[in-house]
Protein backbone atom coordinates (compact mmCIF):
# COMPACT_ATOMS: atom_id res chain seq x y z
CA UNK A 1 0.00 0.00 0.00
CA UNK A 2 1.22 3.53 -0.67
CA UNK A 3 2.01 5.73 2.31
CA UNK A 4 -1.04 7.47 3.70
CA UNK A 5 1.01 10.23 5.26
CA UNK A 6 3.41 11.30 2.57
CA UNK A 7 5.52 14.41 2.93
CA UNK A 8 5.49 17.18 0.35
CA UNK A 9 9.22 16.69 0.02
CA UNK A 10 8.71 13.03 -0.98
CA UNK A 11 6.06 13.96 -3.55
CA UNK A 12 8.32 16.55 -5.18
CA UNK A 13 11.31 14.25 -5.09
CA UNK A 14 9.39 11.30 -6.61
CA UNK A 15 7.70 13.55 -9.20
CA UNK A 16 11.02 14.85 -10.47
CA UNK A 17 12.26 11.27 -10.80
CA UNK A 18 9.06 10.18 -12.61
CA UNK A 19 9.51 13.00 -15.11
CA UNK A 20 12.67 11.27 -16.36
CA UNK A 21 10.78 8.03 -17.04
CA UNK A 22 9.88 7.60 -20.73
CA UNK A 23 6.27 6.53 -20.14
CA UNK A 24 5.50 9.71 -18.16
CA UNK A 25 7.42 12.23 -20.26
CA UNK A 26 4.28 14.04 -21.49
CA UNK A 27 2.70 14.48 -18.06
CA UNK A 28 2.48 17.87 -16.38
CA UNK A 29 3.87 18.26 -12.81
CA UNK A 30 0.33 18.22 -11.40
CA UNK A 31 -0.31 14.71 -12.73
CA UNK A 32 3.17 13.47 -11.87
CA UNK A 33 2.36 14.47 -8.29
CA UNK A 34 -0.87 12.44 -8.29
CA UNK A 35 1.09 9.40 -9.49
CA UNK A 36 3.81 10.07 -6.89
CA UNK A 37 1.16 9.74 -4.17
CA UNK A 38 0.34 6.18 -5.30
CA UNK A 39 3.92 4.97 -5.08
CA UNK A 40 5.56 2.83 -2.48
CA UNK A 41 9.21 1.84 -2.51
CA UNK A 42 10.70 -1.61 -2.13
CA UNK A 43 14.25 -2.86 -1.68
CA UNK A 44 15.41 -6.15 -3.22
CA UNK A 45 18.61 -8.17 -2.98
CA UNK A 46 20.60 -9.76 -5.79
CA UNK A 47 18.97 -12.97 -7.01
CA UNK A 48 15.48 -12.21 -5.73
CA UNK A 49 12.60 -12.90 -8.15
CA UNK A 50 10.31 -9.91 -8.64
CA UNK A 51 7.73 -11.83 -10.71
CA UNK A 52 7.40 -14.95 -12.85
CA UNK A 53 5.86 -15.55 -16.30
CA UNK A 54 2.10 -15.92 -15.98
CA UNK A 55 1.83 -13.97 -12.70
CA UNK A 56 -0.99 -11.43 -12.62
CA UNK A 57 0.03 -7.89 -13.59
CA UNK A 58 -0.67 -6.48 -10.14
CA UNK A 59 2.05 -3.81 -10.02
CA UNK A 60 4.21 -1.77 -12.32
CA UNK A 61 7.78 -1.00 -11.23
CA UNK A 62 10.26 1.77 -11.91
CA UNK A 63 13.94 1.18 -11.14
CA UNK A 64 15.48 3.88 -8.94
CA UNK A 65 18.71 2.05 -8.37
CA UNK A 66 20.19 -1.31 -9.34
CA UNK A 67 19.37 -3.56 -12.29
CA UNK A 68 16.82 -6.21 -13.23
CA UNK A 69 17.10 -9.11 -15.67
CA UNK A 70 14.04 -9.86 -17.82
CA UNK A 71 13.94 -13.56 -18.72
CA UNK A 72 11.80 -15.79 -20.88
CA UNK A 73 12.23 -19.48 -19.98
CA UNK A 74 15.62 -18.76 -18.41
CA UNK A 75 17.05 -16.73 -21.31
CA UNK A 76 17.74 -13.07 -20.65
CA UNK A 77 15.86 -10.87 -23.14
CA UNK A 78 16.74 -7.54 -21.51
CA UNK A 79 18.71 -6.06 -18.61
CA UNK A 80 17.07 -2.94 -17.24
CA UNK A 81 18.70 -0.15 -15.22
CA UNK A 82 17.84 3.14 -13.56
CA UNK A 83 14.65 4.92 -14.81
CA UNK A 84 13.42 1.84 -16.68
CA UNK A 85 9.80 0.69 -16.29
CA UNK A 86 8.75 -2.92 -15.84
CA UNK A 87 5.25 -4.29 -16.24
CA UNK A 88 3.67 -1.07 -17.47
CA UNK A 89 1.74 -2.82 -20.23
CA UNK A 90 0.28 -5.43 -17.88
CA UNK A 91 -0.77 -2.56 -15.65
CA UNK A 92 -2.71 -0.90 -18.45
CA UNK A 93 -4.20 -3.93 -20.23
CA UNK A 94 -4.47 -6.28 -17.23
CA UNK A 95 -2.93 -9.33 -18.96
CA UNK A 96 -0.53 -11.70 -17.12
CA UNK A 97 3.27 -11.23 -17.10
CA UNK A 98 4.89 -12.20 -20.39
CA UNK A 99 8.36 -12.62 -18.82
CA UNK A 100 10.09 -13.17 -15.47
CA UNK A 101 12.09 -10.51 -13.63
CA UNK A 102 15.13 -11.31 -11.46
CA UNK A 103 17.27 -8.83 -9.51
CA UNK A 104 20.81 -8.57 -10.98
CA UNK A 105 22.19 -6.11 -8.44
CA UNK A 106 20.69 -4.84 -5.20
CA UNK A 107 17.77 -2.65 -6.26
CA UNK A 108 15.45 0.09 -5.05
CA UNK A 109 12.18 0.09 -6.95
CA UNK A 110 9.14 2.34 -7.02
CA UNK A 111 5.92 0.36 -7.26
CA UNK A 112 2.38 1.35 -8.32
CA UNK A 113 -0.58 -1.02 -7.84
CA UNK A 114 -2.61 -1.56 -11.05
CA UNK A 115 -5.85 -1.05 -9.18
CA UNK A 116 -4.78 2.38 -7.88
CA UNK A 117 -3.31 3.40 -11.23
CA UNK A 118 -6.39 2.48 -13.25
CA UNK A 119 -8.61 4.34 -10.79
CA UNK A 120 -6.39 7.40 -11.24
CA UNK A 121 -6.64 7.09 -15.05
CA UNK A 122 -10.44 6.89 -14.92
CA UNK A 123 -10.59 10.04 -12.80
CA UNK A 124 -7.95 11.95 -14.76
CA UNK A 125 -8.41 11.33 -18.51
CA UNK A 126 -5.55 13.77 -19.18
CA UNK A 127 -3.13 11.13 -17.90
CA UNK A 128 -4.59 8.47 -20.25
CA UNK A 129 -4.24 10.92 -23.14
CA UNK A 130 -0.58 11.62 -22.32
CA UNK A 131 0.15 7.87 -21.99
CA UNK A 132 -1.68 7.21 -25.29
CA UNK A 133 0.73 9.54 -27.00
CA UNK A 134 3.76 7.67 -25.62
CA UNK A 135 2.25 4.27 -26.49
CA UNK A 136 1.31 5.47 -30.02
CA UNK A 137 4.90 6.59 -30.61
CA UNK A 138 6.21 3.20 -29.43
CA UNK A 139 3.67 1.48 -31.69
CA UNK A 140 4.84 3.52 -34.67
CA UNK A 141 8.41 2.47 -33.90
CA UNK A 142 7.36 -1.19 -33.59
CA UNK A 143 5.41 -0.97 -36.89
CA UNK A 144 8.40 0.58 -38.68
CA UNK A 145 10.66 -2.10 -37.21
CA UNK A 146 8.35 -4.88 -38.42
CA UNK A 147 7.98 -3.37 -41.92
CA UNK A 148 11.75 -3.30 -42.25
CA UNK A 149 11.85 -6.97 -41.31
CA UNK A 150 9.10 -8.11 -43.70
CA UNK A 151 9.92 -6.00 -46.77
CA UNK A 152 11.21 -7.97 -49.74
Amino acid sequence: MPDHEISLYKIIERSSFLQKVDLFRDLSPKYLASIARLIDEIHLLKGEVLFEIGDPGDYMYIIRQGSISIRVHGDEVAALGEQACLGEMALIDGLPRSASAVVLSEANLMRIASHDFRKLLENKPEISLALMKTIAIRLREADAHQEKGTEA
Partner: protein, 59 residues
Protein backbone atom coordinates in the same frame (compact mmCIF):
# COMPACT_ATOMS: atom_id res chain seq x y z
CA UNK B 1 -2.60 7.25 -34.38
CA UNK B 2 -1.89 10.70 -35.85
CA UNK B 3 -4.96 11.77 -33.90
CA UNK B 4 -3.50 10.57 -30.61
CA UNK B 5 0.18 11.44 -30.97
CA UNK B 6 -0.15 14.51 -33.23
CA UNK B 7 2.58 13.30 -35.61
CA UNK B 8 2.22 13.50 -39.42
CA UNK B 9 0.53 10.70 -41.38
CA UNK B 10 2.65 7.59 -41.70
CA UNK B 11 1.04 6.53 -45.02
CA UNK B 12 -0.98 7.89 -47.99
CA UNK B 13 -4.70 7.12 -48.46
CA UNK B 14 -6.40 7.13 -51.90
CA UNK B 15 -10.05 6.27 -52.62
CA UNK B 16 -9.99 3.01 -54.58
CA UNK B 17 -13.69 3.43 -55.49
CA UNK B 18 -16.45 6.00 -54.81
CA UNK B 19 -16.68 5.98 -51.01
CA UNK B 20 -18.61 7.45 -48.12
CA UNK B 21 -16.67 7.94 -44.89
CA UNK B 22 -17.51 8.94 -41.33
CA UNK B 23 -15.24 11.75 -40.13
CA UNK B 24 -14.05 12.45 -36.59
CA UNK B 25 -11.87 15.49 -36.04
CA UNK B 26 -8.91 15.21 -33.65
CA UNK B 27 -10.20 18.19 -31.69
CA UNK B 28 -13.66 16.66 -31.13
CA UNK B 29 -12.27 13.24 -30.30
CA UNK B 30 -9.73 14.54 -27.80
CA UNK B 31 -12.31 16.84 -26.19
CA UNK B 32 -14.65 13.87 -25.83
CA UNK B 33 -11.93 11.72 -24.25
CA UNK B 34 -11.09 14.51 -21.78
CA UNK B 35 -14.65 14.33 -20.54
CA UNK B 36 -14.92 10.52 -20.44
CA UNK B 37 -12.18 8.91 -18.33
CA UNK B 38 -13.27 5.29 -18.74
CA UNK B 39 -13.43 5.62 -22.54
CA UNK B 40 -9.98 7.28 -22.59
CA UNK B 41 -8.70 4.33 -20.54
CA UNK B 42 -10.36 1.93 -23.02
CA UNK B 43 -8.59 3.56 -25.98
CA UNK B 44 -5.30 3.43 -24.05
CA UNK B 45 -5.84 -0.29 -23.37
CA UNK B 46 -6.53 -0.98 -27.06
CA UNK B 47 -3.35 0.84 -28.12
CA UNK B 48 -1.36 -1.04 -25.47
CA UNK B 49 -2.69 -4.40 -26.67
CA UNK B 50 -1.72 -3.51 -30.24
CA UNK B 51 1.77 -2.63 -29.04
CA UNK B 52 1.99 -5.90 -27.11
CA UNK B 53 0.89 -7.90 -30.19
CA UNK B 54 3.34 -6.04 -32.40
CA UNK B 55 6.22 -6.65 -29.97
CA UNK B 56 5.33 -10.34 -29.61
CA UNK B 57 5.21 -10.70 -33.43
CA UNK B 58 8.68 -9.21 -33.87
CA UNK B 59 10.42 -11.18 -31.07
Amino acid sequence: MALVDGLPRSATCIAAEDSELLVLSDHDFLTFLHGHGSIALGVLQTLTQRLRNQLEATH
